[in-house]
């Protein structure tokens, strides 16, 4: 789950990171009093859950409250990579004499937390990782010991030779690690971490992603989710406990299992068409789940045919068949359905679907080809 920069700053501040004060606003005129309160200059920042806000013109400096209102007015309602700016953050501005990058992820190879730092702040870390990997220091942290003092010294000296700055970096690394672990983060970034002309260290941007599987133990963080930043179908799918990703093609897919769902999309492309979505109904799928899946796909007006591809293991084919018939009855579907059901209880499923107008297919290849043929007809 992604959260807004303003919320991420709040979490960082709570863990003791030096974050300049900031406030969310949703109306431009609120920018004036907030700027007054924080003290100018301030930065007006679009709160959308995508990268590249600065380049898109969603981040502006304001030297007084009147300018803050003007900038907020310009940014609110702006479209950034398909997302509408409905909230902006007004943050106290900090003069910058040096910028660093500090971030954390879980390293899949060592299966341990990994801190990455670079003396080139404000950059696209992934780009630097490819073009100039020597500019990044990666430190694997053993979760049993936590971040060790020698590691923080090594990182601080990688970033600076200034003793006063180095002294402030140790606590920054420790707080970031602590925050990352305690909130079950999958990505935590300060980009940039800056040094102001008076030699003080500040975290002037914040990005945190949370491990969705951990949300049951973080009610407070779960409440920060902003559904307006996602496709409506994806939100509905999450509520129905389905995995769904909207794409731009014309063949809708309902599949059990993530790997098979991806392979189905890939096969649609292989045979010359484009998938309209990724949709995994998961294991032990009930007829209700199939009904929800069908509803979500039918939102998409580009869909010309729907392919149901099930390899039953825990998923029972007859459950899926019942869900399909129920959906057909309740939703009045006029889009052709191609159904491939193999595995647990496939005979029962075939019996249920006999005499209906559903197009059946014996193999995945046949199902995909038939769906494409129908969509193109």
């Amino acid at each position: 789950m992604k959260i807004h920069e303003g919320d991420a700053r709040g979490i960082f501040a709570a863990f003791g990171l030096p974050v300049p004060p900031s406030r969310f606003i949703t109306k431009a005129e609120e920018a004036g009093p907030v700027a007054e309160e924080l003290g100018c200059p301030v930065v007006v920042k679009a709160q959308v859950l995508v990268g590249g806000r600065g380049k898109a013109g969603g981040v502006k400096l304001a030297s007084d409250p009147i300018e803050a209102v003007e900038k907020a007015k310009a940014i609110l309602g702006m479209d950034i990579k398909g997302l509408t700016v409905e909230k902006v953050l007004i943050a106290k501005a900090v003069d910058i004499s040096k910028e660093f990058y500090v971030g954390m992820v879980v390293d899949r190879i060592t299966r341990k937390p990994l801190m990455m730092i670079s003396a080139e702040g404000g950059i696209d870390i992934e780009e630097v990782a490819k073009s100039a990997p020597e500019k990044i220091l990666k430190v694997v942290i053993d979760p049993i010991t936590g971040l060790l003092p020698f590691q923080t010294r090594k990182m601080a000296s990688f970033l600076t030779s200034d003793k006063d700055v180095a002294r402030q970096l140790g606590p920054v690394f420790r707080s970031l690690y602590q925050a990352f672990m305690e909130i079950d983060s999958s990505l935590a970034e300060i980009n940039p971490l800056v040094v102001s002309p008076d030699g003080k260290v500040w975290a002037i941007d914040a990005k945190i992603n949370i491990d969705d599987n951990s949300l049951y133990r973080h009610e407070d963080i779960r409440a920060l989710r902003d559904d307006s930043m996602e496709d409506a179908g994806e939100v509905e799918a999450r509520e129905a406990d389905l995995s769904f990703v909207k794409l731009d093609g014309s063949i809708g897919c309902i599949v059990n299992g993530a790997g098979l769902a991806m392979a189905t999309m890939d096969m649609i492309k292989y045979y010359g068409a484009e998938p309209a979505n990724f949709l995994d109904i998961g294991g032990s799928s009930s007829p209700e789940k199939v009904l929800s899946a069908m509803k979500i796909i039918l939102r998409d007006k580009n869909v010309k045919a729907i392919l149901v591809n099930i390899f039953g293991g825990i998923t029972r084919c007859d459950d899926v068949a019942k869900g399909l018939l129920e959906a057909k009855k309740r939703l009045g579907i006029d889009i052709p359905l191609v159904v491939r059901l193999t595995g647990t209880n496939e005979e029962e499923a075939r019996e249920l679907l006999r005499g209906t107008e559903l197009v059946s297919a014996d193999t995945m290849d046949e199902g995909v080809k038939k769906a494409i043929e129908i969509a193109n007809a």
């Binding site: 879980v106 299966r111 079950d184 491990d211 990724f278």
Partner: protein
Amino acid sequence: MSILIDKNTRLIVQGITGRDGGFHASQMVAYGTNVVGGVTPGKGGMKTEDGVPVFDNMEEAVNETGANTSVIYVPARFAADAIFEASDAGIELVVCIAEGLPVRDMLSVLPYVRERGTRVIGPNSPGVISPGRSKVGIMPGDIHKEGNVGVVSRSGTLTYEIVYHLTVNGIGQSTCLGIGGDPVIGTNLLDAMDLFANDPETDAVVLIGEIGGNDEEKAARIIKDGYPKKVAAFIAGRTAPPGKRMGHAGAIVTGGTGTAEEKIKAFADAGVEVAETPAQIAGIISGLL
């Protein structure tokens, strides 16, 4: 032979009185797996319909049955504790079917089990099957066939799809192993390749990878440097958009890495043929053997 499980596997089902645990315990018994017991706290003393004794905890279960393997069907939030408990009781192989474990739980599980010599498969794994010998997991047993091809996969149903094509084309399997779709897992693709490399009954290995992470690239490097078995591969997610999680927690292209394209290229560089559709794997393997 086979890897991980065989006729000597003595299995405890953790969460045996739950809906999924109960159903799959019966399926495993029917397949011929030696299910020696189950554990559900508070339900000790009862027997399942198949006559499998239920214990209150793993220590007791292991002491009473001499179990060496366990399989976990408990809800995600209790799964890490189930792994700790199995490892503490001396279980050598824990297969975690449970999905949805927070990554942080696995970060503390892995050093703990390593110290005690326990291997973990998963979480979010469909399990392991050595056809004709033992099945520990949720895969349909009847699509498998005894043979000499090892299968390792990050997926569940996609593996069934590919195994099905192998079997109908007369290609049997030594062991099929689902390592799980999470970003942090107990046994990864490379660990599985090591196991197959040392199995005299495995002549070829099918690697079923997907977007996310770089294990497939590392596997390709190992093959290039001289891997003792023949290899064919399939990669799911050629059409997956970047930055989107495709069902599996670990199936995500981040920062331009972990793409299907990179993985396919790495395999091509290592001389490994990558199937474009699941059905093609059977033909590629036939050509290799």
